[in-house]
Amino acid sequence: MSMQTRHIPDRLDKPLTALLLSWEVLLLVVAISIFIFNSFASPHFLDVWTLSDMTFNFTEKALLALPMALLIIAGEIDLSVAAIIAISSTLMGFAAQFGFQTPTLICVGLAVGLACGAFNGALVTGLGLPSIVVTIGTLSLFRGLAFIILGDQVYKNYPTTFDYFGQGYVIWVVSFELVLFLLMALVFGFLLHFTTFGRKLYFIGRNPVSTQFSGVNVKRIKFILFCLTGVMSGLVSIALTSRLGSTRPSIAQGYELEAITMVVLGGVAISGGAGTIPGVVLAALIMGLVTFGFGLLNVPGIVMSIFVGFLLIGVIALPLLWKRFLWVFKK
């Protein structure tokens, strides 16, 4: 070894085709295609207000998808996000009945989200339970509590200043929700791709044991992720409650599966350890475009879900089939 050491380069030059075939570029192509298709399909589509309305279709779920992506990259999952929205919305409504004003309501929404996330995190990291079953349990528990408090009642009496979060516009056609989403996408993108915290998530997702052996406090990071997911659910709860202007215990039902669909469509490996925030943002955009495009064509939302279902399976299946095709072809 005293001999001359051999030099190892940082990276090999990748062929341009590899870049062009990257997941994010593929998603971008799909998004642009749908956009062009939509603009031909309906003359109203290219109207700025139409486009602005479109964003409401995906911003709330996309806000859930951001922390969910981090969680799935770290090898965990949270099925209780929509239930956290329900309990947090219910408690905000409860507080509003006593005349509490908007700042208090926001604190309630975020605090309830944080508490629920911490509860999930404690069960998963403290007791070492699998997150998928824990959050199936807490999903029933959290939404169940909303049902206990509300029953078949509705909370409606929110202060008028509360309307801004789901109905307000920052400037012109740019809604508060859209700005919130873009801001959060930047924050989460930065967190995942440019910080040591983000780097550790990939390691935890790939191999939690060797990561722990490398001196990373795996449990603490996972706990933080669950708390983060909880707080974001609280945030979405504020926006959604404000947009709807009312709370029923069934609020946001099924959002968890749509958020997970966005994450997977965005190229995050469901087994953990791979994925990017730009991918998730593009996937959210695609789902919004599809929903809205079908809406313009008067196709009911549920039919759109068929398309999303096939899209989800298709985008996962195609690369696998392509790889196999290449392998057979080479032989």
């Binding site: 040591t196 390691f203 060797s210 722990q212 001196g215």
Partner: protein, 496 residues
């Protein structure tokens, strides 16, 4: 006539030629040893013999008749069975079911007859003189050695003609290894053709009649063992003569770096006392399950000791996690490289920089160029063979993966480095590189603990040797005129 004969077998995977034009013959009542470095194609061959892989070219004959081993089931049905290194059986199923899965006795309506299955299992176990294992026991409740016996019973549950044993003694204690040798003799006397894969030369000479050597997927030699010396075989295996196995070094010991006093755990180890000086390699020898790895995990903060103290440079440390130990200057290269050492799917440089992210980042923001610099510095010192630092560690060989693990710890510039079975399962070339590097480390003043079950390695590398037995320190030796027998006796608890 051979029981099983392979002619001209070739097998390729994307980018890798695993086997090229290989021949192999196994004779009834004979043990053939298969020898080769890691990556020589042994495991591919086993997978072809057991029907898991299909060869690209070549033919297989069984008792002179050509056969196709189209699936694991068809290979098994033809009487070709394998006992794998890490018993690949089912912990949550019963012993009887593990023996009969896939060919269970059927009763009325073609349903599985559990009573008959349990009876046949007892009978089969009795055939290999095993009476202490009950068929209804859950397999997971047995020791590794007993699991091996169940795997052999599975082979005996059909009239196996060919038995493949893939490093069957790798995880066993001396007593258990003896039992495996008895079993091989028994199978031999029953006329089975046996393929015995092992890295241990002394073992090969003890149990085998013939040998076959593979190198880089090709057959490079075969003969009766009686005609070949151990040295010739090593030459065949590596393709060059290995004159200097262990680096010679002067031991210049410095001050005491690590001091362990009365370290104890309720069930794993008790009253451990030892010191380690700068520039010293302290070997830990013992049988598998003597508590060595468990003690190291306590030093590294992974398990909590019930009593005792650990000091580094006269400062008391009480590591509650790996992070604490690393901060105190103690790092641990674990035995299970794949599970505990690296994270596959991620590039080399990230694997190396993970414990040093604090140094390479600024305000918790990553700086890739710093990471690359760090990774290059340490991997090049270890002569890592890789196309680039952005290469996925999964694509590296076992030896090079081990270099990545060691590089990641050196980057922390530790005071004490614990290497747990540092050369287990890696090829001879990488082994030498690791040994030489250990010598460099201590020369630079680092203190090294080396846990190893390989006697030559312990004797060749250590300054002092601690032998553990049943969770206690049995004896401590200065490595001067130390013989292998002394260590084995201490490990097994046999009086001199």
């Amino acid at each position: 006539m051979p029981s099983l004969s392979l002619q001209g077998i070739s097998k390729s995977f994307p980018g890798v030629r695993a086997l090229h034009n290989v021949n192999l013959s196994l004779y009834p009542g004979q043990v053939t040893a298969l020898i080769g470095e890691n990556g020589a194609g042994k495991s591919t061959l086993v997978k072809i013999l057991t029907g898991i892989y299909q060869p690209d070219e070549g033919s297989i004959t069984l008792d002179g008749k050509p056969v196709a081993l189209a699936s694991a089931q068809s290979a098994f049905a033809l009487g070709i069975t394998a006992i794998h290194q890490e018993t690949v059986l089912f912990d949550d199923l019963s012993v009887a079911e593990n023996i009969y899965l896939g060919h269970a006795p059927r009763g009325r309506l073609g349903l599985i007859d559990w009573k008959a299955m349990n009876q046949s299992a007892s009978a089969t176990l009795a055939k290999i003189h095993v009476l202490h294992i009950k068929p209804a026991t859950r397999l997971g409740d047995l020791s590794i050695a007993n699991k091996h016996l169940v795997a052999v019973a599975r082979a005996m549950s059909i009239d196996a003609r060919v038995v493949i044993m893939d490093e069957p003694t790798a995880a066993l204690s001396a007593k258990e290894i003896g039992e495996v040798y008895d079993l091989v003799a028994l199978l031999k006397s029953q006329g089975k053709a046996i393929l015995f894969i092992s890295h241990k030369f002394d073992e090969i000479y003890k149990v085998a009649d013939r040998y076959t050597v593979f190198r880089d997927g090709e057959l490079v030699g075969e003969d009766m063992l009686a005609n070949t010396s151990q040295n010739d075989m090593v030459k065949l295996m590596v393709g060059r003569s290995v004159d200097r196995v262990f680096p010679k070094r002067k031991s210049e010991k410095g001050d005491v770096v690590l001091k362990v006093q009365d370290l104890s755990h309720p069930t794993e180890f008790d009253g451990l006392n030892f010191e380690l000086r700068a520039g010293e390699i302290l070997g830990f020898y013992g049988l598998i399950g003597a508590g060595r790895t468990e003690a190291m995990k306590a030093l590294f903060g992974l398990t909590k000791p019930s009593r005792g103290s650990i000091t580094i440079n006269n400062e008391l440390i009480a590591p509650k996690s790996a992070a604490d130990a690393i901060l105190a200057g103690l790092v641990y290269v674990p035995e299970e490289r794949g599970n505990q050492g690296i994270a596959t799917g991620l590039p080399i440089f990230m694997n190396v920089s993970l414990p040093s992210l604090k140094q390479t980042s600024k305000n918790n923001i990553l700086r890739l160029s710093e990471e690359m610099k760090l990774a290059r510095h340490y991997t090049e010192r270890l002569d890592l063979r890789a196309a680039s630092l952005s290469q996925d560690v999964a694509t590296l060989s076992g030896g090079n993966q081990q270099k990545v693990v060691i590089a990641k710890w050196l980057a922390r510039q530790p005071k004490v480095i614990i290497l747990d079975e540092p050369t287990k399962g890696i090829d001879i070339g990488s082994k030498a590189a690791v040994h030489e590097f250990m010598a460099e480390l201590v020369a630079a003043g680092m203190a090294v603990i080396m846990v190893s079950s390989e006697l030559p390695e312990i004797l060749g590398m250590s300054d002092r040797v601690i032998v553990m037995r049943d969770g206690l320190i049995a004896e401590t030796f200065e490595n001067k005129n130390l013989g292998a027998e002394q260590l084995v006796r201490a490990a097994a608890g046999i009086a001199a």
